[in-house]
Amino acid sequence: MEHFDPVILARMQFAATALYHFLFVPLTLGLSWLLVILEATYVMTANSVWKDTVKFWGKLFGINFAMGVATGVTMEFQFGTNWAYYSHYVGDIFGAPLAIEGLMAFFLESTMVGLFFFGWDKMSRVQHLTATGLLALGTNLSAVWILIANGWMQDPVGAAFNVDTMRMEMTSFFDLIFNPVAQAKFVHTVSAGYVCGSVFMLAISSYFLRRGQHVEIMKRSFAVAASFGLAASLSVVVLGDESGYNMNEHQQMKMAAIEGMWDTEPAPAALTLFAIPDRTAMKNDAEIKVPALLGLIGTRSFNVVIPGIKDLVAQSDGRIQNGIKAYAAMVAIKKDPKDDAARSVLAANGKDLGYGLLLKSTGVDPAQATDADIHAASLTLVPDVFPLFWSFRIMVACGFWFIALFALAFWKSSRGKFAPNWVQRAALYSLPLPWLAIELGWIVAEYGRQPWAIEGILPTRLGASAVSAPEVLTSLIGFVIFYTVLLVVDLTLMIRYARRGPETNAA
């Protein structure tokens, strides 16, 4: 059992449960607004075809929503079980958006989802539409707060270290919620959810249109999904670009890694389309580059330089030196809380305390670190370039494909062409792609942040609980088995209920 590292196991558990949870969330985000659009049309036209349409998609929404709610609890509790030091160290800031999410959004969506399913015969049409609208609003407000929390992990604004409590504490709530990184991430993530919901609806309605079944319902669904999806897919790419711009300001290492940029290039830097990055040799094989493009996207200028990985590593040596001073001052203050000299050293170097912790996380006592130790710690800042480089490229390719797909679908539906055609076939085969793109997007965002749990503040390794490998392994295996069984059941039901099609003329 000593071969297992509890921190690696805890990371695997977090990655597995987060990626799993996010199979359900984006569909909830997108499908909820699509339900609102369909139901609003029903309320306005009083044509019961629209009601049958809402009910059909609603049933699929329900199976998915239950899974999303169920697996979300794991995400929250896991911070406490596997990441106790993280919880202690940043709970003062990170906990607040989670709690507010519950109060503002999650209660709303979860109460309204009950009315959506069980309230058809008990409410007026407008009341029911209101419940559906509040459901969609709630799901999206949830995403706001979760992404404020996640945005803070990428760019920890509005917080400072307090040596008397040994943790980060909030200094500005305003900075926390109006963090530009969080704002861009929110719009990018919910737009991706809208794309996911639209592809889902487009693909399943294509399935029926190709078979000539339920045509009245499916051609309406197809048209709504095409127009909503077109707007959403454009928004995803634009806001993804905004995230890239923010990343260049706040997370230069992640930016350099996803671009496979080992060396700083003269501005404007070239964009690498294809490469086989080699982390040990710190170089790319088989590169294909487009001149100047990266510099334009990343800095929106011709003359701002984007630093490469090697330069970023060199810069962090200095920050680790500052971090050692801050760490030593912190230890001195722990011994004598009235040591004012140490307090002023900490005040001067506190912003780099995280780099002292990074050194500690490599197993070196910051008080005894040699230059070689410091440089070795700097090198741990280099992320795993290969998976980031390729995850990012596949995600972007999917994004552009969605724009094309929705444009084609929009063109077909605006001309009233719903007879079996090749766009429907393309839509059907595209069904898994939004999930692929979204999961890869999270891998870029979170794996690309390593070795930090909180960028520049808390290394992931130090955030873990003092639990043993067998404990984490037990729960990891437990979750994998349990979640796999659930996924099989969920997909079986989804496919069965999707294939069964709508129940027309329901009461």
Partner: protein, 385 residues
């Protein structure tokens, strides 16, 4: 920045109260659907009866479960040290709770999409999901009185000094088992009262009988627990307390003394009204059930649930979690909170949103107020589970 109108100690006290509100909200609201899940294969003799039971909570369980999620988020934000220490300490127990919390919605959603033995299997996952969380939460609460084997280092990292399986089995001490059973009895009873209010015919009379028996079981366990706790070794702070001090749980000294858990009741005898109200709530609920006033009886059982939790919380105050290895490292209201700014912002959020939540939740319950009948669940193409 607008100055915070309360001092740190007051904010901490407010958040101790709000923690109580959230735990009570969880037990009263999510508790009844756990009770219904637990009773499902016991009281429902046919598939139709079980579907009736499930559909009484079908439209509301999702909203109810949010009390748990918000409660977790609020502990994270307001009591980060408690969040870190308790969740990582009760490791295997939390895993069991998580699995059962996932099983419950999944069972609701999936059960009616299967038939025969597969459907019956979901009835038993539902039963487990109604049994395990109340049991584990009750056992955990009991262990807070007994002390838990953890220490906290100077950097603030909590470590739980017990193995995986033994650490879990050691939680099952006699007193903790009693509090666990009290919790299960309380929520099963509360669920039975809810069922009586939301069903009719034989299902209703069966639920009413179960509720009456459940009240008696709960009463015995609650009273035994009350006498038992008076004879336990309790925790008491022996150094000066600065209620406005920094949140560092390593700066005080705590002694273990026999019988001190009733000190708050002895200091303020008026507080005995809280356990008194729990018993009164149970009695009123039984009388109202016998009078056929089922919906009003639910208020009585809600009072029972709320005051049972308040009774335990008042006894523990100011302790949030106690260490059996290093009693001085126990977490209290005065040294385990988040910063004044975070507590204040969270207070504002709670003051704005809790009333809104109560308003739309009431609206939803009003719309769904009619009992579930056999005719309804047998209607083809219905929206029910």
């Amino acid at each position: 920045m607008i100055p915070i109108p309360f001092d740190y100690g007051t904010l901490r006290l407010i958040w101790w109260g709000l923690l109580g509100v959230l735990l009570i909200g969880l037990a009263v609201m999510d508790g009844f659907d756990m009770g219904v899940a637990f009773l499902n294969p016991i009281l429902g003799r046919t598939d139709t009866e079980r579907r009736i039971m499930i559909n009484t909570v079908g439209p509301v369980w999702e909203g109810n479960q949010v009390w748990l999620i918000t409660g977790g988020g609020a502990i994270f934000a307001a009591w980060p040290a408690l969040y870190a220490t308790s969740f990582s300490g009760f490791y295997l127990a939390m895993f069991l709770v998580l699995v059962s919390l996932i099983l419950r919605p999944v069972s609701f959603e999936f059960r009616n999409k299967f038939s025969g033995n597969k459907r019956v299997a979901w009835d038993y996952t539902l039963f487990m999901s109604g049994l395990i969380p109340p049991l584990v939460f009750g056992v955990a609460f009991g262990n807070l009185f007994l002390g838990v084997p953890y220490t906290i280092d100077t950097l603030g990292l909590p470590t739980y000094h017990d193995g995986l399986v033994m650490g879990f089995l050691h939680l099952l001490k006699p007193f903790a088992l009693l509090t666990g059973l009290t919790s299960v009895a309380m929520l099963a009873t509360h669920g039975a009262v809810y069922l009586a209010a939301k069903t009719d015919g034989t299902m209703r009379s069966r639920a009413a009988t179960t509720a009456t028996i459940g009240m008696l079981v709960w009463l015995v366990l609650f009273v035994v627990g009350g006498f038992w706790v008076a004879h336990l070794d309790g925790f008491t702070t022996t150094s000066a307390i600065d209620i406005n001090g920094a949140s560092n749980p390593l700066l005080k000294t705590v002694a273990v003394e026999h019988g001190v858990w009733l000190r708050n009741y002895q200091a303020y005898p008026l507080l005995y009204a809280v356990p008194g109200l729990a018993i009164l709530g149970a009695i009123v609920a039984v009388l109202l059930i016998r009078a056929g006033r089922f919906a009003t009886a639910f208020i009585g059982s809600g009072l029972m649930v709320a005051c049972t939790i308040a009774t335990a919380g008042i006894a523990l105050f100011p302790y949030l979690m106690t260490s059996s290895l290093e009693p001085s490292q126990s977490l209290t209201v005065w040294d385990a909170s988040s910063s004044p700014l975070t507590l204040w912002l969270m207070t504002i959020a709670a003051v704005i949103f809790v009333p809104l939540i109560l308003i739309y939740t009431s609206w939803a319950y009003y719309i769904l107020r009619k009992p579930i009948t056999e005719a309804q669940v047998n209607t083809p193409n219905s929206n029910l589970y």
